[in-house]
Amino acid sequence: MTTANTSEPFSETRIVTRRLHERPDDSWTIDGALASGAYDSLRQVLAQGDPSAVQAEATASGLRGRGGANFSTGQKWSFLPKDTFPRYLVVNGDEGEPSTFKDRMLLERDPHQLLEGIVIASYAIQCNLAFIYVRGEFALGHDRLMRAIADARAKGFIGKDIQGSGFDLDVVVHRGAGAYICGEETALLESLEGERGMPRLKPPFPAIEGLYAKPTVVNNVETLSTLPHIVRMGGEEYAKLGMARSTGTRVCALSGHVKRPGNYEVEFGCTFRDIIFGLGGGIRDDNALKFFLPGGASFQWLVEEHLDEPYDMDHAAQKLGTSLGSGAVMVFDETTDPVRVAWRLAKFYSHESCGKCTPCREGTGWVEKILYRILHGYASPEDFEMVCDVADNISPNFMAAPFNQTTLCPLGPSVASPIASLAKYYRDEIIERIAAQQAEVPA
């Protein structure tokens, strides 16, 4: 086994990030995009004229959603009830998961790739109206997207009778107002409808009753950006990339205490070491790694012993008790206080709790308050057990994954992940620390 601070050379597999790397100065313009093959896949699809063939390619590619839930895209499309129209495609560009910034790059740097994916997906599911929900803070991304839509419309890639195929598609852009929960697909639909962003009860699932109670597919920006390439390469060819049921590539947003943070497109099946060291250049100041968050902020942490585990969705869920989630890897070095990280994450979830259900609305705030006391030396030794029990009341049997929930949506249980991670790796350290703090307090 290689030691922690060595790095093997490792390179990206650029598919969805190819154009933006190759044409750093104009990848987002219609001319730059057309010059590098944009809309060729769309033309191919329209020329072929068979929506179900596109669906078949998507299924064959093994593509799984890049929004965080890792659900098979082809299968999701197949849930739409036949012959129920209108139906809608909703593009999830709300990207609010802490440390995740891949969709932002795809929007800002390659909006035509996304639009092409949207038209292909819409054609595949036969919808004539697509909605793009863009995170409100993405000012540049929004501007470039609007420009791209206007240009694509002018060129006949969006609008009536696209490229003479008889297929119509209109696209509506909606800007979010800064709520993390609006990234959750049903809360997003509520928000799109002008309601307060709170998740809906499922069932009914969006595929049956989604936007305006019509059948709806919600797909992530990266998921859709991948489609033109699946069409170009063929589903089976795409499926050869990656490992097992994690096919293809994934844009991994690497951040934290690494030398070279950034978005890296990697093929599934590489290791965390390849990402953190091979691409990220290792830990800053060549410090030791303390722990890392393997998939956004909502899942359990991993530590040094996991560096050589494969970057694979099922492996993460079944063997490591965590998830590759939104595809972001956040790295923390030996100088980090894990309690501080846990507290900061709890503060985020408490702040972002939509308030709809009791355990999350009340529990996340309570967790945050207890962690704050532990962090600042106002805790008693029982407090750590208590915070674990509170986490258990939000997510029964919270140390295990996949998690249970007493909540209505998965946001609440996300707060249990840092607690579980603390309990798994740092319990003794924390108990000792509380005892030491208590000893300092004058009687």
Partner: protein, 886 residues
């Protein structure tokens, strides 16, 4: 109108709850099925009358084969389901959720109105943790803030269950409250500068599971365990909502909605809920008085009764029975109405009697049209609305029509003259020129018959109704009191040609239907029989029967104004305020020889009375009332009358004795029983049966015997063991009368009585649709046709004498279409001169999009510049000229 409507799911499934096998209808929610089978799953957000939302997470259970912990309130039962509600993991979750709910809860139970009947207290005791581990600072908010003039919100106590916000949107259709902010700062908010001014806001207080929502009138008034309760019926309007009336120390303190499936389904409007305040108003008249040389002098009851009897005797002797007239009686009980009819028609012999005040519909039609029940709305093929704004005049009927249209997807046609509360829910809207309602009705008949009507909206509606089973329910009333009833009657004549049509009459006074049923109308005798048909039946029972048909309210007032009425009895009536033509009403009061007021308050009409006989009011008396569908229900007597007031029926009896005819009626139940024996439509509706039947009985009893549900329990507000239920649908357990059960006896007796009267007594009156009505006159191009109706918070006693309701009145203005305002050439809000053939008044004018061009709307408020000064009852419609003041 054939078959084809969706069937409700009646398939039964077998499932297991906590090891016990139970049966239930497929698709019912687990939480409900469990409760019906004796397993109470704790809950906060779920309310049986609203869509489940799964917010509070108190009801999580385990179901074999389902991952995790599904909420029982959102899980439909299915064949073979195995559910567990009391496993260790479930109990831990219940503990956890309650602990979460309590961490930020202020626990100020000692000063909380809900304390003692609080689901949060009760469920914590039953399912929660014994202690709190929370040592942090609780969330703080300013203690109660007003959401409206009636409802306060204590945000610290709120558990964010969303019952109130969902009620406002889903049930009331007034989405004026919603959640603001998120996480543990989430709170119920109103929109900036827009109060929660729903007419149904009080329901949110009743269903709030904590003391977060508070009624201003009830706040700090009582502890729940000090309240004593009687079931009663609201008589503020003719819907007849069921309620639980509560008092302490002889003061009425609260009215809660009781869930009567067939009528109000648990809801009340705010006027009904808070209107009890007027019972204790300082303005109540509590001692009898008579006029002695232009001044009212308090006298004893015997003196007062003697004086009135003498006047009556003298009038009869000198001028004949027809010189006596009785106006009113629509606000009392059935027993009051019957006793007064018996006095007027059966003792005095006058038929100049009218419970309505020229603002309703001809008794002939109300009594004779085929009737619908409120519950028919949900199963109707279609609903047609031709009448006033139900939201203003019959609020809970508005809720029921809305529910039918929205939840049950029954096509609704709005033929009201201006936009009304139900307009947003209508399948189609057709605005006709006021006065020409008959044309719209004829179009509808054509469209339903498959012919093009010439009105696209009506055609679309007919298409939506085609193929649906069930009756066509027409809600029929006066769309405007500024026009005569004739256009409405012409429309009714047309509607009557529809197949399977039934009517709900939209008359608003609390017991107007009971009063008309019992003969408080010219040409009728008790039990929906005409004077002519019933003469032979009543002659041997009563002392006398009027010789010929008498005058209606307008006729009586004209006769009085001409000096032809010697004694005018105002039975809780205020014609100066309520009759559409104020001027005529004033002249009538002045012209009547002797005015007897049987009332609880002085009014412009009764101020001039020669004798004032103070009566008891709702809350102080027992008896029965009849709602607009013909349902007879009991009134609860909760407080003792103050002063020396007397029930109206007893006053009639006392006067009868003094006129030489002893009714021999000692108790109110005896009056009820006499009605059940002599009034054909009421045959069998005896006091004993009414006491036993949970939902009252619908007249005629014989046709509705199968609907009778016999009570098997008491009103359940504070359960003896287990949680308080006043926040959940309050019900009385009932069963269908069984063959051998003791209740079968009463039902059998009712059947026998009804059959006997059917054989012996005259037939019930049926409406003759060959009503002969002329067309409305043309309107000149510069005139605006006046439309006028009541607002909920009008100038009536209940509003003006209830301190909590009085401030809710809006000031009146003439509402016109923006185009018409431009033509008049003034700014919004300017005072203008408004002239009708009757009078000229000065009013502010405003625009409102609900008013079609060519029409002007003015509320019929009692004081201020109401429409009643402008309305000319001698013409079919009232046209206005509106001019600038210069």
């Amino acid at each position: 109108m054939t078959t084809g409507q969706a069937q409700t799911d009646t398939e039964l499934v077998t499932l297991t709850i906590d090891g016990r096998e139970v049966q239930a209808r497929k698709g019912e929610l687990l939480i409900k099925v469990a409760q019906e089978n004796g397993v109470y799953i704790p809950r906060f957000c779920w309310h049986e009358r609203m869509e489940p939302v799964g917010m509070c997470r108190m009801c999580l259970v385990q179901v074999d084969g389902m991952r995790g912990f599904p909420p029982a309130c959102t899980t439909p039962v299915a064949e073979g389901m195995v559910a567990h509600t009391d496993t260790e993991p479930v109990k831990k979750i219940q503990d956890g959720v309650l602990e979460f709910l309590l961490i930020n809860h202020p626990l100020d139970c000692p000063v909380c109105d809900r304390g003692g009947e609080c689901p949060l207290q009760d469920q914590t005791l039953a399912f929660g943790p014994g202690e709190s581990r929370f040592t942090e600072e609780k969330r703080h908010f300013e203690k109660p803030i007003p959401l409206s003039g009636l409802v306060l919100l204590d945000r610290e106590r709120c558990i964010q269950c969303g019952r109130c916000t969902r009620f406002a949107e889903e049930i009331a259709g007034d989405p004026l409250i919603d959640f603001g902010e998120r996480s543990d700062r989430m709170q119920v908010v109103t929109f900036p500068d827009e109060p929660f001014s729903s007419y149904f806001s009080g329901n949110t207080v009743q269903i709030c599971p904590v003391g977060a929502l508070l009624s201003k009138p009830y706040r700090f008034k009582a502890r729940p365990w000090d309240l004593s309760t009687s079931e009663t019926t609201c008589t503020t309007c003719a819907v007849g909502c069921r309620g639980a009336l509560q008092s302490s120390s002889n003061r009425l303190l609260r009215l809660l909605g009781v869930d009567l499936d067939a009528v109000n389904q648990g809801w009340l409007c705010d006027k009904g809920r808070y209107g009890y305040e007027w019972v204790h108003a300082d303005e109540r008249v509590l001692e009898p008085s008579v006029r002695v040389r232009n001044a009212m002098v308090d006298v004893s009851w015997p003196e007062a009764l003697e004086a009135v009897a003498n006047e009556l005797q003298r009038a009869i002797e000198l001028h004949g029975p027809s010189s006596v007239a009785v106006l009113g009686g629509a606000r009392g009980s059935n027993e009051d109405a019957y006793a007064w009819v018996r006095l007027a028609k059966g003792v005095i012999g006058t038929d100049n009697v009218d419970a309505q005040l020229g603002d309703g519909l001809p008794a002939d039609a109300v009594l004779g049209l085929p009737r619908a029940e409120i519950d028919d709305l949900d199963q109707a093929a279609a609903i047609v609305l031709l009448g006033p704004d139900l939201k203003e005049e019959l609020p809970v009927l508005y809720l029921r029509v809305k529910q039918a249209a929205v939840s049950k997807k029954v096509p609704l046609l709005d033929l009201a003259p201006v936009d009304v509360g139900l307009t947003p829910y209508a399948t189609a809207v057709s605005r006709t020129v006021p006065g020409e309602e008959g044309v719209a009705a004829e179009r509808l008949v054509a469209a339903i018959g498959g012919r093009a009507s010439g009105d696209a909206g009506i055609d679309a509606f007919a298409a939506a109704a085609t193929g649906r089973s069930g009756p066509v329910v027409v809600v029929l009333g006066r769309g405007s009191v500024a026009q005569s009833a004739a256009p409405t009657m012409r429309a009714a004549a047309a509607f009557a040609a529809l197949p399977n049509v039934r009517f709900l009459s939209a008359l608003r006074r609390g017991n107007v239907h009971g009063a008309l049923d019992l003969g408080l109308a010219p040409g009728f005798l008790p039990g929906r029989v005409t004077l002519d048909a019933g003469r032979g039946w009543f002659a041997p029972i009563w002392q006398t029967v009027p010789k010929e048909r008498g005058l209606d309210a307008e006729g009586i007032l004209r006769a009085a104004a001409d000096g032809k009425v010697r004694v005018l009895v105002l039975l809780g009536a205020d014609p100066v305020a309520d009759f559409p033509d104020t001027d005529l009403a004033r002249r009538a009061i002045d012209g009547a020889g002797y005015v007897v007021a049987v009332d609880a308050f002085l009014s412009e009409s009764t101020r001039r009375a020669d004798a004032f006989l103070p009566c008891t009011v709702w809350g102080e008396k027992a008896g029965t009332t009849t709602n607009l569908e013909g349902r007879v229900q009991r009134l609860g007597r909760k407080v003792s009358p103050e002063g020396t007031t007397m029930d109206d029926w007893r006053i009639a009896g006392e006067l009868a004795v003094r006129l030489g005819n002893d009714f021999d009626l000692e108790f109110v139940d005896e009056v009820t029983d006499e009605i059940a024996t002599v009034a054909p439509a009421h045959a069998g509706a005896r006091s004993q049966l009414l006491r036993r039947s949970r939902d009252g009985v619908v007249l005629p009893v014989r046709e509705h015997l199968h609907e009778i549900m016999v009570r098997t329990g008491d009103l359940n507000i504070m359960a003896e063991d287990g949680p308080a239920v006043s926040w959940d649908p309050i019900r009385v357990d009932a069963a269908e009368p069984s063959e051998e059960g003791d209740a079968a006896h009463e039902v059998d007796e009712a059947r026998g009585e009804a059959e006997r009267l059917e054989r012996e007594a005259p037939a019930h009156h049926e409406w003759d649709r060959a009503a002969n009505v002329g067309d409305a006159p043309g309107r000149d191009a510069y005139a605006l046709r006046l439309v006028s109706g009541r607002e909920l918070y009008d100038g009536g006693r209940i509003t003006t004498c209830s301190p909590s309701l009085a401030p809710l009145r809006k000031d009146s203005a003439l509402m016109v279409h923006p185009q018409d305002l431009a033509r008049i050439g003034v700014e919004e809000g300017t005072q203008v001169r408004v002239t009708s053939s009757r009078a000229t008044v000065t009013l502010p004018v405003r625009t409102h999009p609900s008013v079609p061009a060519g029409t002007a709307r003015l509320p019929f408020t009692a004081d201020g510049r109401g429409a009643s000064e402008l309305i000319d009852t001698t013409t079919m419609v009232t046209d206005l000229r509106v001019e600038t003041i210069s």
